[in-house]
């Protein structure tokens, strides 16, 4: 896998007096085969960074390099993204198999496509015979698995996961997080994992960055950020996490 390096990324929305700087000189590195967790409140610019990293919004300044090279602008993209709302991220008029097929590299032959889709569905613990199902027939958790399978189909160098469990019920969230962790280790994915939930980020990420009003306030190994936070805002965030539910072992 490959390292994704974001340097001094600035993204502005709007023009004239109503211009809004969503990302302000953001520098981040997703190390090869590791997970970088990005935390922050809504509107802090996390999704902007995610979309810029995937090449969906263009940067006003700064560079994004994948293994030292700029992101390609056409063809199947090496940085793929999983979105928050699985209902919105799959075309309701396409079967889940078709949606996954759309992301397969063109080298696959017709028959190879079929077996590849089966393999991918199996990988995310979905029954391959359901490839003809349409999104409205599936639950939110299942759809998020399809979205993950689609991303894996593209053989991405880096995967960006933007709040992928916030639209799910807690009972389903665990299964999706387990799957993400499992795939990350198995396939050695480089993962940019975004969430407003610190406990969730802590569970999947080895590196953590904290973002607020478009800026990175603090970044480092997860252990360090969570146990020896440097920035007062990080402490504030940690304070706001509800106490543990389970009795500590």
């Amino acid at each position: 896998m490959t390292e994704l390096r974001i340097e001094k990324l600035t993204v502005r929305y709007g023009r004239g007096p109503s211009v809004h700087t969503a990302a302000d000189e953001v520098s981040l590195t997703v190390p090869a085969s590791q997970t970088l967790g990005l935390v922050g409140e809504s509107g802090s610019g996390k999704s902007t960074v995610a979309r810029a990293a995937a090449g969906l919004v263009s940067a006003d300044s700064g560079t994004i390099k994948l293994g030292g090279k700029p992101l390609p602008r056409r063809g199947l993209r090496p940085v793929q993204m999983i979105f928050q709302d699985p209902r919105s991220s799959l075309d309701p008029r396409m079967s889940i198999g078709e949606s996954i097929a759309e992301c397969l590299p063109s080298r696959f032959s017709r028959s190879a496509r079929r077996s590849e889709i089966s393999r991918l569905l199996d990988m995310v613990h979905l029954d391959p015979t359901r490839r003809g199902a349409r999104p409205p027939e599936l639950s939110g958790g299942q759809l998020q698995r399809v979205a993950i399978a689609r991303v894996l189909a593209a053989r991405p160098a880096v995967v960006v996961a933007d709040e992928i469990t916030s639209a799910l019920d807690v009972s389903v969230q665990g299964a999706v997080l387990n799957l993400v962790r499992e795939l990350q280790t198995e396939l050695g994915l480089s993962l940019l994992f975004i969430s407003h939930n610190l406990a969730v980020v802590r569970y999947v990420a080895s590196q953590v960055a904290v973002m607020r009003t478009g800026r990175i306030l603090e970044a480092g190994p997860a252990d360090q950020v969570f146990h020896r936070p440097q920035h007062s805002y990080t402490r504030q965030l940690l304070d706001a996490v509800p106490d543990t539910l389970r009795s500590t072992p």
Binding site: E41, R51, A54, G55, L56, G75, L76, R77, V79, Q80, M81, F83, R87, S88, S89, L90, D91, P92, R93, S99, E102, C103, H125, L126, D127, R130, P136, E137, G141, Q142, R145, A147, A154, D169, V170, S171, V172, Q173, G174, A175, L177, N178, E182, H196, L198, A199, R202, Y203, F226, L237, D239, A240, P242, D243, T244, L245, R246, S247, T248, P249
Partner: protein, 674 residues
């Protein structure tokens, strides 16, 4: 095809029949009667209705009935042609933002915005002057005149689809813009486009009739209905039918299209734009109809569920609870039977007590809260053995208007409700201050200045700075957290005994969530107001509440003091819920515990414990009999659980946990598919 479902509605059937008749006439009439319609009966000029000529004859003695029928083809063709022009141009401009990218797209949007303001008639007049009068120039004129509103419609529809994530995903898959338009955008906006094109065809028909009527459309010797009306108008004193008959034809054909559009829109529930040539959808097109279970006969669901008439738990020490619910049910009558999303809730809240309700979405938390607050609306129906608030029995229908207003006043003053989404829960067109004082002025008729002063005071009390200035502001000028504070302040205007807060922090950020929870806690202890806090997040509820009720499938499955939650929860669902939420101490080397299967589907409930299909401890009995909510062994009534096999001793608990993680992770949720 979904469009054909229209044939199942009476309006759709009527519209289809008329439409088919009109189209048949358009095809057949000119073949049969073209020559007869031209035949002149010089003995019979300008005559009224007679046996030979049912509608009379025109200036040259031609039969009006035949001419009306033959004119159908030209009239309909021209209308369809104009619609085609409008639709084509509209899609072209409407899709520009997708095809050309942002900047060019914005230009197209502005152009359409300006064009849409011009009345189409002007364009028709101008074109008539430039191209000369005639049917083709009229067709282009009406088509072009209709294009801006179609473009606007397309733009809005396209924009609502374009911001969907599957478009972004297709871009990441390297698909070209054109392909995305064809594969993803157009199929998803086709239905509303078809509906509106149908309505537009009707409008074009009317517009064409108007132009021809003025003499600016079809020119002699061709004739359409509009032209025939113009010719008939001159002789309205002699034979009013001559002018009215083609008019009736216009109405019938126009109706065929308009009714069809209306019926289509109803059966597809598409936003439609009834303005003739000014179409603009109200809101983004809803992606897909609700995928609620297709409603099997569900009579049994309304059944007794469980006769749970045991007294609600909770400190029995207090004489009078603020809120008492006994066997509360909320049901949704439908033509296929009755769904019962809330099936027998019993709960008691003491003065000053904070009770939390947790459960997954769809478990019936919100409906319970709304029912308790008397805010459930038709078609949902509330029943309860007891529903008492501050001593008043709310299940009694108030007899007199005085009783009624006394109830309303009690609820208005003493029951505060805080809703989930602070963005949408305030009236956007009213100042915050005015919204705060409204209830008090309505119920108590206090003076405006006094009420205003109290509002400012309350805003200050919930920690809003510069309350005076803030009271004069509109909701959109507040941040989310501040709005939720203002909502709480609104509840504190009267003399609250109970605050019902339904997911009050779900839409807020963690740091703000903490502040709002602290505020609720403060309010409660400062003025000993009782609190009913609803959340899907068990950690949030535990932070604030004394007692917690866990809901599943429309019932309380466990109710226990908050301090027993971590160690002594006995219901397998409660334990699974606790285990499934990662927190800052979760073991990173283990997979998270999960709950297999999917949440209950109301339309597919069967007898037995609602959790049985997902429960690792389920036995035959669980599938057959629904367990009652009964006091748990050692708690003295404060802890109740509805389970045949409560997890009591530590050994069983450990076993259950081990069981759950062993099956992990592969089979976890995936098994539901096979």
């Amino acid at each position: 095809m979904r469009l054909l479902t229209v044939l199942r509605t009476p309006m759709g059937v009527v519209a289809s029949i008329i439409l088919v008749l009109v189209l048949l006439t358009a095809i057949v009439a000119p073949l049969l009667w073209n020559d007869a319609a031209e035949a002149r009966n010089t003995a019979n000029l300008n005559s009224g209705p007679s046996a030979e000529h049912p509608l009379g004859t025109d200036v040259l003695g031609r039969d009006l009935l035949l001419r009306t029928l033959v004119a159908t083809r030209l009239t309909v063709l021209l209308a369809l042609g104009a619609t085609g022009v409008a639709l084509g141009l509209g899609i072209l401009f409407g899709a520009a933002p997708v095809l050309l990218g942002h900047r060019a797209g914005r230009l197209a949007v502005s152009a359409v915005n300006i064009a849409v303001a011009f009345p189409g008639l002007l364009l028709a007049l101008v074109l008539a002057l430039i191209l000369g009068v005639g049917e083709l120039s009229a067709m282009w004129a009406i088509g072009i005149a209709g294009a801006p509103s179609f473009a606007r419609l397309c733009q809005t529809l396209v924009a609502s689809v374009a911001e969907r994530d599957y478009i972004a995903a297709a871009r990441l898959a390297g698909k070209s813009r054109f392909r995305i338009l064809l594969r993803h955008v157009l199929p998803n906006i086709a239905e509303p486009l078809i509906v509106n094109a149908t309505i537009a065809a009707g409008a074009a028909l009317l517009a064409f009739a108007g132009l021809s009527f003025l003499g600016l459309g079809v020119q002699s010797p061709s004739y359409d209905w509009g032209r025939m009306m113009m010719e008939g108008l001159d002789r309205i004193y002699l034979n009013p039918i001559a002018a009215l008959a083609p008019g009736v034809a216009v109405v019938i054909a126009g109706l065929a299209f308009n009714l069809m559009g209306e019926a289509l829109a109803r059966s597809l529930s598409t936003p439609r734009i009834p303005v003739a040539w000014g179409m603009r959808p109200r809101r983004p097109y809803p992606q897909k109809a609700e995928e609620r279970g297709d409603g099997e006969p569900a009579d049994h669901l309304a059944g007794p569920g469980h006769a749970d008439s045991s007294e609600p738990a909770g400190p029995a020490a207090y004489p009078e609870a603020v809120l008492t619910l006994r066997d509360l049910r909320v049901s949704l009558p439908g033509h296929l039977g009755c769904l019962t999303p809330v099936r027998g809730i019993s709960l008691r809240i003491a003065p000053g007590e904070a009770v939390g309700i947790v459960g997954e979405s769809g478990s019936g938390k919100s409906l319970t809260a709304l029912a308790a607050a008397q805010l459930v609306e038709e078609p949902l129906a509330v029943r309860a053995a007891t529903l008492k608030f501050c001593g008043a029995d709310l299940m009694l229908r108030p007899q007199s208007t005085r009783d009624r207003s006394r109830y309303q006043r009690l609820l208005g003053r003493s029951l505060a409700v805080v809703f989930q989404d602070p963005m949408t829960s305030f009236n956007p067109t009213m100042r915050i201050g005015a919204q705060l004082v409204e209830g008090m002025r309505f119920h108590d008729g206090v003076e405006r200045s006094w009420a205003q002063a109290r509002a400012v005071d309350r805003l200050g009390a919930v920690g809003i700075e510069e309350p005076e200035r803030r009271a004069a502001m509109y909701p959109h000028e507040f941040s989310g957290g501040m709005r939720q504070r203002a909502m709480i302040a609104m509840g504190l205007m009267g003399d609250p005994q109970l605050i019902i807060a339904d997911e009050p922090t779900t839409a807020l950020d963690v740091t703000v969530q903490k502040q709002v929870l602290e505020l609720l806690d403060e309010v409660r202890s400062a003025s000993s107001v009782a609190l009913m806090l609803i959340s899907h997040d068990i950690a949030v509820v535990r932070q604030v509440c004394d007692r917690i009720a866990v809901m599943y499938g429309g019932r309380i499955v466990e109710e226990l003091p908050a301090d027993r939650l971590a160690e002594q929860a006995q219901h397998p669902y409660t334990r699974a819920l606790i285990a499934a939420v990662p927190d800052m101490n979760t073991d990173l080397d283990e997979p998270l515990a999960t709950i297999p299967g999917r949440p209950v589907d109301l339309s597919q409930r069967s007898a037995g414990c609602p959790f049985a299909p997902r429960c690792p401890l389920a036995t035959q009995r669980c599938h057959e009999q629904d367990p009652a909510l009964i006091p748990a062994g050692d708690s003295g009534g404060a802890h109740r659980v509805a389970c045949w096999h409560p997890v009591v001793d530590a050994g069983r608990a450990a076993l259950a946990e081990a069981d759950r993680s062993a099956g992990e992770p592969a089979s976890a949720e995936g098994s539901e598919l096979s």
